[in-house]
């Protein structure tokens, strides 16, 4: 059950490492402006909060959801743990409506890193210059060389467990922790890859393979997508939030930010929020929006005011546009051997071949794919909805649970203006217009997915699978406040600073100009580390609009 009152208050916040424990927390008055008010405590917001607090700024981070105590509150149970998802009303539509909720959202301090798969991959370097180097989509305003040190910083902060020599891309040295032993579904991927002559490896994962501070090594319980009950997972709640608190940041949980206030000079002056049913206002010199690719544009649009009637930071008209997801069509097969894919992190082996090979493709972009490990409830829903099975046929198919293995890709989609987040007329419990998500695949997106299904099927059969079948799904949400070099074609610059309002920043997956063929969390955290450094530099040079 979800806690009913905030826990981070009165000078203390939950200690995630001690059952029922607390750690001291700073408290800032609402009437005095803090240097930074950050909206959202996930991969973007929590990381930036730690970086800015460690740099000496005063920081308050808001999150609409609770400050969980994983040791006390995370059950080994799929249904109970649905409490981790953002389930406020939303509408999904377009030609290919994206499933929201558990697929791509989190509600609570730590955001969706509470239930993410921990896959921690870097972008292929060329993707940062996709237009000029690979001839599709758009360039990012930063290069791989610029973000590389921050990838290393994020990997160290998370103590990512991975191979000594990652088989694709530029040399990056060994991962901080040794790789995890690969489970049976991952070994199936490895066997298939070797038959087909492509490389594979243990997935770099943000769950520790050896003790780390108060985090014990992963025990392979397999409920990673439903919250880690041991704190082996290096989520933002376990990694960045304790750092932020120690450095003097304040976290306000169960605090829904409803509007950003704009002053007479056209600058952000603070955030309106609701906590315990009361409307409150926190003054701030800078506001950072880190609510992920739906709530971030929604807050900017819902904050429309006389100076900015089309929403904040929206002179380009691009806020909410160029929404991307990752397609994840699955291919599944039955094996003679026992797989028992409920054990271990769900995606222990990866193949990035088609992210790095450019020959023989009838599409632009790439995809990684991983071995899978769904738990019974989610798996039954995949079987039932993808194959239309019910009655005895469903129970019969489910009896194969322990003999099933399969792959699913993280398949790039193109940034297109018509895929977008907009406001519906309907309002929610706060009286705010709810978001409507409109999405459809392009011809290129479909060609890429067909390729992935062909290749994964071939590999699964080579590994000994039979009775193959496929399913459709998506994961992650990106774009909607893209970064760029030109105010006419982007919402923010390379520092996450909005072009229109000099003290309004964005720091989450909304920034991505392209989606790449890997899970985004490591790149979001690397970007947040970089934005933190940039803000420090700008402050030193006196280039912040509202200097601390």
């Amino acid at each position: 059950m979800t806690p009913e009152t905030p826990r981070a208050r009165d000078g203390r916040a939950p200690d995630v490492f001690t059952p029922g424990g607390f750690v001291p927390m700073a408290g800032f008055p609402e009437r005095e402006p803090v240097d930074f008010a950050i909206v959202g405590a996930g991969a973007g917001g929590a990381t930036l909060a730690a970086k800015l607090a460690e740099a000496g700024f005063s920081v308050v981070v808001f999150d609409a959801g609770p400050f969980w105590r994983p040791l006390d509150e995370f059950a080994s149970d799929e249904l109970e743990q649905q409490k981790l998802y953002w389930t406020d009303p939303r509408i999904t539509g377009g030609d290919d409506p994206i499933a929201l909720g558990g697929n791509n959202s989190g509600r609570g301090v730590g955001g969706s890193t509470i239930h993410f798969s921990m896959i921690s991959l870097r972008f292929r370097p060329e993707w940062f210059k996709a237009r000029s180097r690979l001839g599709y989509a758009v360039d990012w305003p930063i290069s791989y060389e610029e973000i590389r040190p921050y990838y290393a910083e994020a990997e160290q902060a998370l103590k990512v467990a991975g191979p000594v020599r990652y088989p694709w891309g530029p040399l990056r040295g060994p991962y901080p922790y040794r790789p995890h032993e690969v489970n049976a579904p991952g070994l199936v991927l490895g066997r298939g890859a070797e038959k087909l002559g492509v490389k594979w490896c243990a997935t770099p994962l943000a769950t520790v393979s050896a003790p780390r501070g108060k985090s014990p090594p992963c025990v392979y319980r397999g409920f990673c997508n439903f919250g880690c009950s041991t704190n082996a997972k290096q989520s933002a709640l376990v990694v960045w939030i304790p750092r932020a608190l120690k450095a003097g940041a304040e976290v306000r949980d169960m605090a829904m930010v409803t509007r950003i206030e704009i002053d007479r000079d056209g600058l952000a002056s603070g955030v309106h929020y609701v906590r315990e049913g009361e409307s409150r206002f926190q003054r701030a010199r800078n506001v950072v929006v880190a609510g992920y690719a739906i709530e971030t544009p929604r807050l900017l649009l819902n904050s429309a005011c006389p100076q900015f009637p089309d929403g904040l930071a929206n002179a380009s008209g691009l806020v909410g546009t160029h929404l991307m997801t990752h397609a994840s069509p699955g291919v599944w097969a039955t094996f003679e051997e026992e797989i028992r894919w409920y054990k271990g992190p769900p995606n222990m082996a990866v193949c990035e071949h088609w992210n790095y090979a450019d020959e023989g493709k009838d599409f632009a972009g790439g995809y990684a794919f991983m071995s899978q490990g769904p738990l019974p409830m989610a798996w039954a829903q995949t079987v039932a909805t993808s194959r239309g099975l019910w009655g005895p046929a469903l129970r019969q198919q489910m009896l194969r649970y322990n003999h099933t293995a399969g792959f699913a890709p993280v398949a790039e989609t193109e940034p297109r203006p018509q895929n977008r987040v907009e406001l519906a007329e309907e309002t929610d419990a706060y009286g705010l217009k709810i978001p409507k998500v409109v999405f459809g695949y392009s011809g290129n997106d479909r060609a890429l997915q067909r390729h992935s299904l062909r290749f994964m099927s071939e590999m699964l059969e080579a590994a000994g699978g039979r009775d193959l079948w496929t399913s459709t799904d998506t994961s992650h949400l990106l774009g909607t406040c893209r970064m760029g070099d030109d105010p006419r074609t982007s919402v923010v610059n390379a520092d996450g600073r909005t072009w229109d309002i000099a003290n309004l920043w964005i720091c989450d997956g909304s920034l991505f100009p392209t989606s790449g063929g890997v899970n985004p969390s490591l790149t979001i955290q690397a970007l947040a580390c970089r934005i933190g450094e940039r803000i420090k530099t700008l402050a030193r040079r006196g280039e912040l609009a509202c200097a601390p």
Binding site: T87, G222, E338, M377, T385, G391
Partner: protein, 199 residues
């Protein structure tokens, strides 16, 4: 393959390091006597009982998993997924409209209520809803196939496999904290995992 796991009971691990206190609390609630009806009306409840008995038949169980009651609790607690397809009304409303439309389809086809129809007639109505080949008037603009797949079947299948008896049925390890697992490889299992029946 698909030989089943006779004698395996996830709940036999209740007092082992596979069950922590939080999980015991959650599972205890799930297997307790189902709470009194809160969401469905009496007639709706009888209809739901009949529908879920076809979606997930349990002739093999002396004590069937109380799916209709679980669905009622799920809806009453507002545990839905939050978002909705633009072609669908909010879940609560969708379920009421969909159930009424299934009932209407049964009456049109067989002149009797769904709950009183023969099993094969009930299946025919459900198949018609699944494929969208029903009288649309009763569906009030909602797409029957989307309703069947994304609401009725998805939630029912999920709830069945959220019950410990279903975990035991398919040989799922079940709750696993703090102990987790040690043997992860192909054809490997720990002593606290299910044994498959011999071929």
């Amino acid at each position: 393959m698909a030989r089943g796991y006779p004698g395996y009971d996830v709940l036999a691990k209740w007092r082992t390091p596979s069950f922590d206190e939080k999980t015991r609390e959650v599972v205890r609630r799930r297997i307790a006597q189902p709470p009194a009806r809160r969401f469905f009306t009496g007639p709706e409840q009888r209809l739901v009982e009949a529908i879920v008995a076809r979606l997930i038949p349990q002739p093999d169980r002396a004590e069937p998993i109380p799916l209709a009651a679980m669905l009622d609790a799920f809806m009453a607690d507002g545990r839905g997924q939050g978002y909705r397809n633009e072609a669908m009304p909010p879940l609560e409303q969708a379920l009421r409209v969909g159930l009424a439309a299934i009932e209407a389809e049964a009456r049109t086809r067989f002149g009797r209520s769904f709950a009183e129809a023969a099993a094969e007639d009930q299946d025919a109505v459900l198949r018609a809803a699944q494929s969208g080949e029903v009288d649309r008037a009763a569906w009030r603009g909602m797409d029957p196939a989307t309703f069947f797949r994304e609401a009725l079947l998805k939630i029912t299948a999920g709830l069945y496999y959220a019950h410990p008896a279903a975990w035991s049925e398919i040989g799922f390890g079940g709750p696993a904290s703090p102990r987790g697992y040690v043997r992860l490889g192909l054809d490997e299992s720990d002593p606290w995992e299910a044994r498959e029946a011999a071929p």
